[in-house]
């Protein structure tokens, strides 16, 4: 021991300053899980790595992936919205009906997004005025939105007859013949929302309220307003996803969306956003959704029959989250150790 060590460092003070520069992203675990899975499938079935296939996989994540982005905000504010699938559906039905009624599809789509925001507003107003958790409110509005959508679509698919508008061709177009425009919108939304969550007042407030609602209220953060905004944002994103779906698929079926909510929450959770609030990762959610798609696609590339595919899906999911978990363990331990070595 050198002599200077006799003078103890100031307890509790930092021993080394923060090294700025590249920091391993927290999503590293799921990224490794995703890439690993793709490598394995691609090794066994090279056709899987064909760009066309990869881009179509990306395209497949679009609509549910957008909802997952919104759901990250909800989990971050310690809420859950169960009605996302039906907000998606109802907005799409609404927009498609406007198109059927002869309104310009772009305009109708815009109205559809607003309509989605309006549905979110309903959730928000009930939740805020009655001070109920969103999960309870949306347990009810889940059926309400579904029911109303069913009433207006009369149990039949809505298919805008005239699909000559650029709305349909642009949204279902593929750049360079392979890159789906819809997927680009999805990626753009993800990046924008990533910035919103981490670099805006609104995102800051969402995390603050989710981390400790009481402390947030005591700091003067308008918690009810932030919750309302978050639920409206979720609605608007559902609307956007819904109208894009109409443009992309050219129709909306009456039961489309019924099974969305579990998949969306699964993607967000696999991606690393905790249920306990205060924190969320958009990038993780996007990757989580991709993992889900890659699993289902991988099963088909390997020719695994329906009999086994469900089991394999589950097993791979467990493996993926375990891997993520182990990598996180490893990292914490490595950080601890590197800090300890600093003293040695």
């Amino acid at each position: 021991m050198s002599k200077t060590d006799l003078i103890p460092p100031l307890a509790g003070s930092a021993v080394h300053p923060a090294r700025r520069g590249f920091r391993i992203p927290e999503e590293i675990g799921v990224i490794i899980a995703l890439v690993g899975m793709m490598a394995i499938i691609g090794f066994a079935r090279p056709r899987f790595l064909n760009p066309i296939n990869l881009f179509s996989l990306l395209g497949n994540t679009t609509f549910l992936g957008m909802l997952a982005i919104g759901m990250v905000f909800l989990l971050a504010i310690r809420e859950i919205d169960l009605s996302v699938g039906w907000m998606f559906n109802f907005s799409a039905v609404f927009a498609a009906l406007l198109m059927v009624a002869g309104i310009d599809p772009w305009l109708a789509a815009f109205a559809g997004v607003l309509f989605g925001a309006g549905l979110g507003l309903i959730n928000g107003l009930i939740a805020v005025t009655l001070r109920l958790p969103a999960i309870i409110v949306t347990l009810g509005t889940y059926s309400m939105f579904q029911g109303l959508s069913l009433v207006v679509n009369k149990g039949r698919a809505i298919v805008p007859a005239d699909q000559s508008s650029s709305f349909f061709s642009v949204i279902s177009d593929k750049l360079f013949g392979i890159v789906p425009v819809a997927a680009l919108v999805f990626i753009a939304l993800a990046l924008a929302m990533h910035v919103v969550l981490h670099r805006t007042r609104f995102g800051y407030r969402v995390q603050a309220v989710g981390s400790n609602p009481e402390a947030a209220a005591h700091a003067g953060i308008p918690t009810a307003w932030v919750r309302l905004q978050t639920l409206v944002l979720m609605g608007a994103i559902c609307g956007l996803s819904g109208v894009m779906y109409v443009g992309f698929r050219g129709a909306i079926d009456p039961n489309e969306g019924s099974d969305f909510v579990l998949v969306v929450i699964a993607a967000v959770i696999i991606g690393g956003t905790p249920l306990s609030g205060g924190h969320g990762t958009i990038i993780g959610a996007v990757i989580g959704m991709m993992i889900i798609q890659v699993i289902s696609s991988g099963l088909i590339f390997f020719g695994i029959d329906a009999t086994w595919s469900t089991f394999v899906t589950g097993a791979v999911t467990v493996l993926a989250v375990s891997l993520d978990r182990l990598i996180k363990f490893q990292r914490t331990r490595r950080i601890e150790r590197s800090k300890e070595n600093f003293h040695a």
Binding site: L10, A215, A219, H343
Partner: protein, 514 residues
């Protein structure tokens, strides 16, 4: 004293990543004594105690109990050795009843079922001794923080430990409650129970302890019998500098002749009824009252967290009561809440994030963007100004209690408030930091701030305030200033609602009305 010490630790070390909590800490405690451990915030006191309670595992070092080497690697092991601990940060179960908290993991079972009757019976006497008159079936979250502290204490006492560790057991207790506590502790000592006692209230340390260990930077620097020590010596040992006056003198006012003021007329709401007073800038107004007397309600109303039933209030900005905490924050009214962990901090977030709470979270003017770089600047500014021990990216949860408190204050200083509502802002803060906070409060008031200051510690009310308003059972029982501000008068007024010497008839009538 003959025989080995009850417990002794040698050369304990504990690091959290790059943070040194303990480094070469040694201590030995004689049987049947109350042994105080003092030291500034972050000195490692709580970490030491947690090691003894089996909650934290040290990196190195040895523990001996009755002269035998032991390893205490989990809480149950500590319990088996007869060690019980009252944690500094409350570790209660908010949703659970008082009884469930008191007997957690040791519930008495009759015929396979938990017997509430027996729990009640076994705790009744102790609760009465502690002066804790609460519905033992109500969830703990409904209790005030002082009551919760007593529950935590009672829980440990019910274990009948041989060694009782008390980590700031009375930081939320007022003088009377503290006296009760000390009576209980002295009784325990008479029964041969050994105690380790951590506190920042040095007068009390001197009143209760037999021996004192001073810690600094994760080491023990000095251990002596209390009788061989004086408070100034202790302070110097703790923070390694000459003692300055604990209560800095008032600063010259920097504001001009127009002194903004806040007037409260006939305010009612919560437990309060018909409270009127004026507070001027440049003045520190103390608020005294028992738990439940309504002081907290008053602060809540002024901060917009609670609706008033009636009355008129004028803030210096000319408007009335804020309708919400958000409005209050935007009108430069700040509240430093008493329960910092529940109401003051986002524990799983960094210092940096917490410091931006008000600037970014409450206000809605300025840029809608949140810049981590700017936030870092803010955090560094407050870390320097308040001497917070922690990196900007450290989680609030990893800070020592006193440093957490400074973060709560720091986030408000970022907006430069005009009205300061301070609810026990020095709770758990070391003497050096206390002095800094007092100086800060002086500065706030000198810069034209209006300060309402509530505290459970009488000396600081008397030492710092220009006037003290005493609230008793929801009404303003009196205003004290000048020589009236002595501890006897304040105590009497807070506890009876009457000035000392007032005639007994009146008191009796008061009793009938209650």
């Amino acid at each position: 004293m003959s025989g080995p010490p009850m417990i002794s630790v040698r050369n304990l070390a504990k690091r959290y990543g790059g943070v040194v909590a303990l480094q070469d800490m040694s201590l030995s405690v004689e049987r049947g004594t109350i042994h105080a451990v003092v030291g500034e915030n972050g000195a490692g006191k709580s970490t030491l105690m947690k090691v003894l309670a089996g909650v934290v595992r040290p990196d190195s070092g040895a523990i001996e109990l009755d002269g035998h080497a032991v390893t205490i690697d989990n809480p149950n092991a500590a319990r088996q050795h007869g060690i019980g601990m009252v944690y500094q940060e409350l570790s209660l179960f908010p949703e659970r009843s008082v009884l469930a908290n008191l007997f957690v993991n040791r519930e008495p079972v009759r015929n396979g079922l938990i017997s509430k009757r027996e729990m009640e019976a076994r705790s009744r006497y102790l609760l009465r001794q502690l002066g804790l008159h609460v519905d033992v079936h109500a969830p703990v979250s409904r209790l005030s923080i002082g009551e919760r502290q007593l529950v935590e204490l009672a829980r440990v006492l019910l274990e009948h430990p041989r060694l009782l560790i008390l980590d700031e057991p009375n930081s939320a207790l007022n003088q009377r409650e503290t006296e009760r506590l000390f009576t209980v502790l002295k009784g325990l000592r008479a029964n041969g129970i050994t105690m380790l006692y951590v506190s920042h209230r040095l007068e009390e340390v001197f009143a209760i302890s037999d021996r004192v260990t001073i810690t600094r930077n994760g080491r023990d620097v000095l251990t002596k019998d209390r009788s061989e020590l004086t408070i100034p010596q202790v302070i110097e040992g703790m923070i390694g500098q000459q003692r300055e006056a604990l209560f800095p003198p008032p600063l010259p006012s920097t504001v001009g002749a127009t002194r903004p003021q806040m007037t409260v007329k006939g305010l009612a709401g919560g437990r309060l009824a018909d409270v009127s007073f004026t507070a001027r800038s440049g003045e520190i107004v103390g608020l005294a009252g028992l738990e439940g007397s309504g002081v907290a309600d008053l602060l809540d109303m002024l901060f917009g967290m609670r609706k008033a039933r009636g009355g008129e209030v004028h803030f210096p900005d000319g408007s009335g009561l804020p309708k919400s905490a958000t409005e209050a924050a935007r009108r430069n009214v700040c509240l430093v809440p008493a329960d910092r962990r529940r109401n003051g901090l986002m524990l799983d977030k960094s210092i940096l994030f917490n410091i931006s709470n008000v600037v970014v979270g409450a206000r809605d003017w300025g840029t809608p963007w949140y810049s981590p770089k700017t936030a870092l600047g803010r955090a560094n500014r407050q870390i320097d100004a308040l001497r917070i021990k922690g990196l900007p990216h450290a989680l609030a949860n990893s800070l020592s209690g006193g440093n957490q408190q400074k973060v709560v204050i720091g986030k408000w200083l970022e907006i430069g408030p005009q009205v300061f509502l301070l609810d026990d802002p020095t709770r758990g803060v070391d003497i050096g930091a206390k002095r800094e906070i007092y100086a800060l409060i002086r500065e706030m008031s000198a810069n034209g701030g209006i300060v309402l200051f509530s505290s459970t510690e009488l000396p600081e009310l008397i030492g710092l305030c220009d006037r003290i308003l005493v609230i008793y059972q929801g009404r303003l029982a009196g205003q004290l200033s000048g020589t009236e501000m002595n501890s006897q008068t304040v105590l009497h007024l807070t506890n009876t609602g009457e000035m000392p010497g007032a005639n007994r008839n009146k008191q009796a009538r008061q009793g009938d009305m209650a």
